[in-house]
C-alpha cells in the first residue's frame, strides 16, 4: 500500500542532509511552506543551497533559516525586498553566495531537471551580464543562451489538498513554483491543509500527480498573511 502521508513535519524532514540543495516553493506571500521551513530550521541541516524566487523577508521563515547561518548559497530571481534585511546583510558581508537567475530561466531550469532535459537554449538574458560566460548560439536568426537544469535533493512545497498517493492541488497563486519543483527533487515534501481520500480529488483537476511527491504532511489551516513586500 502506498501511504505518503506522514504525521509530523519532523518525520517528513528527518533525513535532509548537510549540503543538500533544497527547492522551496512560494512567490511573495503565496505558496510559502512556512511549517516546512520552520521544520528545516529545527531539523538542523547545514551548508544548504536554497532555490526560491525570493531570499526571505522579515525575521521569519526563509529569513530565519538564513539568519541561523544554515545556507551557503541561494539561487533566486528577486532577493531585494523592502524588508529583506537578513539576506542583505549576509550578502553584503560575503557570508552568502547568490546566483541571480531571471525568473523564467529559474522556472525552466527547474522544469528541465524534472523532465530529463540535459540543457536548453533560451533567449532570456542574451546580451546581458546575467548571461555571464554561458554558451551562446544563433538559431533561426535569434540569439540564445545555454542553460542547465537545477535539480534538488529535496523540494519543500505548499499545497492545498493531497491524498495518500501524493496527488496535489493548490490554491490560487500559491501554485507558482510548487508543481515544477515537485518534479525536480529526489524527495518532494508537500504540506497540505486537507488530506483527501483516494478519488476525492477529481482526476481531471489533479495539478501534481502523486508520482512527483514522496511525502505529504498535513498542517493546521492558517490564513495567508500580508508580507513585507513592497516594490
Amino acid at each position: 500500500m502506498i501511504n505518503k502521508v506522514v504525521t509530523s513535519v519532523a518525520e517528513a524532514l528527518g533525513d535532509i542532509q548537510d549540503g543538500a540543495t533544497v527547492l522551496i516553493g512560494g512567490f511573495g506571500t503565496a505558496g510559502i511552506p512556512n511549517e516546512l521551513i520552520d521544520g528545516l530550521i529545527a531539523q538542523g541541516a547545514r551548508d544548504l543551497t536554497v532555490v526560491n524566487n525570493n531570499a526571505g523577508n522579515g525575521d521569519q521563515g526563509l529569513a530565519a533559516l538564513l539568519k541561523a547561518g544554515r545556507v551557503r548559497k541561494i539561487i533566486c530571481s528577486f532577493p531585494r525586498q523592502a524588508d529583506s534585511y537578513v539576506f542583505d546583510e549576509l550578502y553584503r558581508s560575503g557570508k552568502l553566495e547568490l546566483e541571480l537567475v531571471p525568473q523564467g530561466n529559474l522556472a525552466e531550469r527547474i522544469r528541465a531537471a524534472g523532465a530529463g532535459i540535459g540543457a536548453f537554449y533560451c533567449a532570456t538574458a542574451y546580451g546581458t551580464e546575467l548571461a555571464g560566460d554561458r554558451e551562446v548560439r544563433e538559431i533561426d536568426g535569434r540569439h540564445y543562451v545555454l542553460e542547465y537544469p537545477i535539480k534538488g535533493d529535496v523540494a519543500l512545497i505548499k499545497a492545498e489538498s493531497g491524498d495518500r498517493w501524493g496527488n496535489l492541488t493548490y490554491r490560487k497563486a500559491a501554485r507558482n513554483f510548487g508543481p515544477i519543483m515537485a518534479t525536480a527533487a529526489r524527495t518532494t515534501i508537500a504540506s497540505v491543509y486537507d488530506v483527501r481520500e483516494l478519488g476525492e480529488i477529481d482526476p481531471e483537476a489533479v495539478v501534481t500527480p502523486g508520482i512527483f511527491v514522496q511525502r505529504v504532511v498535513p498542517v493546521p489551516r492558517s490564513v495567508t498573511r500580508a508580507g513585507g513586500f513592497k516594490s
Binding site: A30, R80, Y91, L100, E108, T124, G178, V207
Partner: protein, 222 residues
C-alpha cells in the same frame, strides 16, 4: 525646464498607454508605474492581464478587508481574478511570456536606447542588492515591449540614450516608449516620433534627448 508645454502627469501617461492597447490584447503590466495602466483600460473592451506568478485575467485590487494573500500580482499586492481567468504554475506562466504569446508588455526603465535596448533591472551600483525577477523574460518574450517612463531624470538627463550605460535587460526589444513628454518608436534605424504634448516641437525634443528623431509617420496631434 518647462516652457510652452506641460508634462503628462503619471495618470495622463498611464491613460496614453491604455489608449494604444487593443480589444482582446493579452498584456503584462510591469511592477511600478505600468501597473497604473490597468485603471485606464476601457470597460467595454476585454484586455486580459497576465501576472507572471500564475494568473491570467487578473482583476483590480479587492475592497479593503477582502484581501487574499494567496491571490497577489507580481508586485506582491492583493488582486482579484475575473470570471474567465485561470491559475497555472510558473513554467506555464513563463511559457506565455517567453513563447511570444503576450501581445504587449509594459515595463518601466532606467534607460532605453534608440535601437530598443532596455536597462531596467540594475543601476550597477556597488553593494546594491540585485534583483531581476521576470523583467528579462518579458523584454525578450512579448510580441511588443513598451516602455513607460519619464523622459528625463531628476537631473534633467535623457533616459533615452544612444547606448545604455546601465546593465542591460534586453537587446533591441523595445518597440515603443511612452514618456511624460512624447511617445516614440524605436527600431534598428533609430527613433521616430509618434506624438508629443501640446506646445512641444520635434526640434526641442531632439535637443532634450540629444538624438535625431524622425518625424511621425502621419500628422499626429498630441
Amino acid at each position: 525646464m518647462s516652457s510652452g508645454y506641460e508634462r503628462r502627469t503619471k495618470q495622463q501617461l498611464a491613460q496614453r498607454v491604455a489608449e494604444d492597447i487593443f480589444d482582446g490584447a493579452y498584456v503584462n503590466l510591469g511592477i511600478g508605474m505600468p501597473t497604473m495602466v490597468a485603471n485606464y483600460l476601457r470597460a467595454d473592451m476585454d484586455v486580459l492581464l497576465h501576472s507572471e506568478n500564475g494568473l491570467l485575467g487578473m482583476g483590480s485590487a479587492p475592497p479593503e478587508g477582502e484581501e487574499d494573500y494567496d491571490l497577489i500580482n507580481a508586485g506582491k499586492q492583493p488582486v482579484t481574478l475575473l470570471p474567465g481567468g485561470a491559475y497555472f504554475h510558473h513554467a506555464d506562466s513563463f511559457t506565455m511570456m517567453r513563447g511570444g504569446h503576450l501581445d504587449i508588455c509594459v515595463l518601466g526603465a532606467f534607460q532605453v536606447s534608440a535601437t530598443g535596448d532596455i536597462a531596467n533591472w540594475s543601476t550597477g551600483e556597488e553593494g546594491a542588492i540585485p534583483a531581476v525577477g521576470g523583467a528579462m523574460d518579458l523584454a525578450q518574450g512579448a510580441r511588443e515591449t513598451w516602455v513607460m517612463m519619464n523622459l528625463l531624470t531628476r537631473q534633467g538627463e535623457s533616459k533615452l540614450v544612444e547606448r545604455c550605460a546601465y546593465p542591460l535587460t534586453g537587446l533591441g526589444c523595445v518597440k515603443r516608449i511612452y514618456t511624460d513628454l512624447a511617445t516614440l518608436e524605436c527600431s534598428a534605424e533609430g527613433l521616430r516620433l509618434v506624438d508629443m504634448v501640446p506646445g512641444l516641437d520635434r526640434e526641442t525634443l531632439e535637443t532634450l534627448v540629444g538624438l535625431p528623431i524622425a518625424a511621425a509617420r502621419s500628422s499626429v496631434q498630441a
